[in-house]
Symmetry: C2
């Protein structure tokens, strides 16, 4: 999904939110706004928001000398999410369809996104999100694909959300490779964030080899691309991964909340909707006439 | 009031909103975003939002060749407002304190601002705004100043709002000079917009000599400055005029709705509040011990 012009005001808001976490120096923040302003002419019309976002955070790091402004927030998010783990585990265990409930939990975890909204209430969001109807519901296709899948990739999004991903992986009951970013970018999960959330107990942890806030294949490592190309099920969490993969032909299912109007429009739902959506450019085995 | 960094995302939003009224050419709009991005480094830390806004609209006009993108919207706003005139006139006439009610009507008229929000409902806003408490209420000082005033300037804001201004001027019952912008800027009232609203029937119409979306004295004409300096009461409508005059020492009263968080913070009220606020840097005659 390429960036829309509507993303530009949002990038400036992200700069303000993130920079103000690091510094009170308004002159420094102005410098960052200026640097991003000067970068705009070179942005290709094909660029995804994740690619531009990567540049936004590169500029912030460069100007402030702080490589990972969200480090402490990520730790706190993960700790908060871990306190919810036992209750969510019980919710899943006592549900009629454990897999579906675990998917709902994983999507609900996607509300934790400081990059877009610094103002959130986890418990309240959970209460509203868990029973929320999926605006796009490809659960049957997901279940069928999972049934035959042997090489499952799970593309992580934010720290904290990782705990919710762990609950879904525990219901998948098959080997899963959990993919995090290589370098700090917004509040996206890194290797340490996955460890903090206990992902090492349920999955193999790998890196995409990139510091883009999404999975942009041209920026990923060769090692990751090998995993990606051989996967027979890819679970993609969040907007950033969607932006990079929405046009790709691969066995991917997107689990996300459409937080902004631009993504919502591209996905084809109203803003705030949650979706479990299969790739539009891939023919899943069921559709090939395989009834297994 | 100088611009805060929080104004920058807002300028980009204004560019999108205004440009999309004129053109569907996203490449052209990107050009405008780029041009504004390139202009950011040269913006002084002392610049007011009105000064920067002026530049935003200059860039839009230059790139699109359209000098007054809001022309038709302004016409429509004025026509809409005129349909409310008889009802509002009656509301004022039947009220206990006609002047106070007319002030409330004039402030309510300030909700018409396409520059900030394209999504508005005039009737609904009026119902909510007319009884809304003034978060800052310098009505007594205003009434006292008006009583002795001989040279009254009324600084207009948006087209359409002009009709509401007319209702207040009709209650002032003294000669008033109604000041509009010299050249098109956003939806700010020009001479023709004042005529369309019937201001010529109740006031002398003058120009500030500027195309800034606010009264920035350094940008105004000599003719206007003479009027300004000799005035003994200045009624200033809206955010743009406030931005330019908030630090000046002059007998000004600001009538506005604090539509954005930046203005609200500067005025010292919560966002969405309405105020009738006297100049902070001017000693009004009452305060000098004059009890007349």
């Amino acid at each position: 999904m390429k960036a829309y012009l509507d993303c530009y005001p949002c990038f400036f808001n992200q700069i303000l939110n993130t920079s103000r976490m690091i510094t009170n120096n308004e002159g420094k923040i102005k410098e960052i706004l200026v640097a991003f302003g000067q970068f705009i002419p070179s942005i290709s019309v094909q660029a995804t928001p994740a690619e531009i976002g990567r540049e936004v955070y590169r500029i912030i790091s460069e100007k402030t000398g702080i490589e990972d402004p969200y480090r402490r927030i990520k730790k706190r998010c993960t700790q908060q999410a871990l306190t919810l783990y036992p209750k969510l585990k019980e919710t899943i265990a006592s549900s009629e369809d454990r897999l579906l409930t675990a998917i709902r939990v994983a999507i609900a975890g996607n509300v934790i996104d400081f990059g877009i909204n610094t103002d959130f209430d986890l418990d309240k969001d959970l209460e509203e999100l868990l029973p929320q109807e999926l605006a796009i519901d490809h659960y049957e296709e997901f279940r069928a694909t999972l049934k035959d899948a042997h090489r499952i990739l799970y593309l992580a999004d934010n720290a904290g959300e990782t705990v919710f991903d762990r609950l879904l992986i525990e219901e998948i009951r098959k080997p899963v490779i959990y993919v995090v970013r290589e370098n700090p970018i917004i509040n996206d999960a890194l290797y340490q964030d996955a460890l903090d959330a206990g992902l090492d107990k349920v999955a193999e942890i790998a890196s995409s080899g990139t510091d883009a806030p999404g999975t942009i294949l041209s920026m990923c490592s060769k090692e990751f691309l090998k995993l990606f190309q051989s996967a027979d099920l890819i679970i993609s969490k969040g907007q950033g991964n969607y932006e990079g993969l929405s046009e790709e032909s691969c066995p991917v299912f997107f689990l996300l909340k459409a937080k902004c109007s631009v993504i919502a429009r591209d996905v084809g739902v109203t803003q705030g909707s949650i979706v479990l959506k299969k790739a539009k450019n891939y023919e899943f085995s069921r559709e090939k006439g395989d009834t297994s």
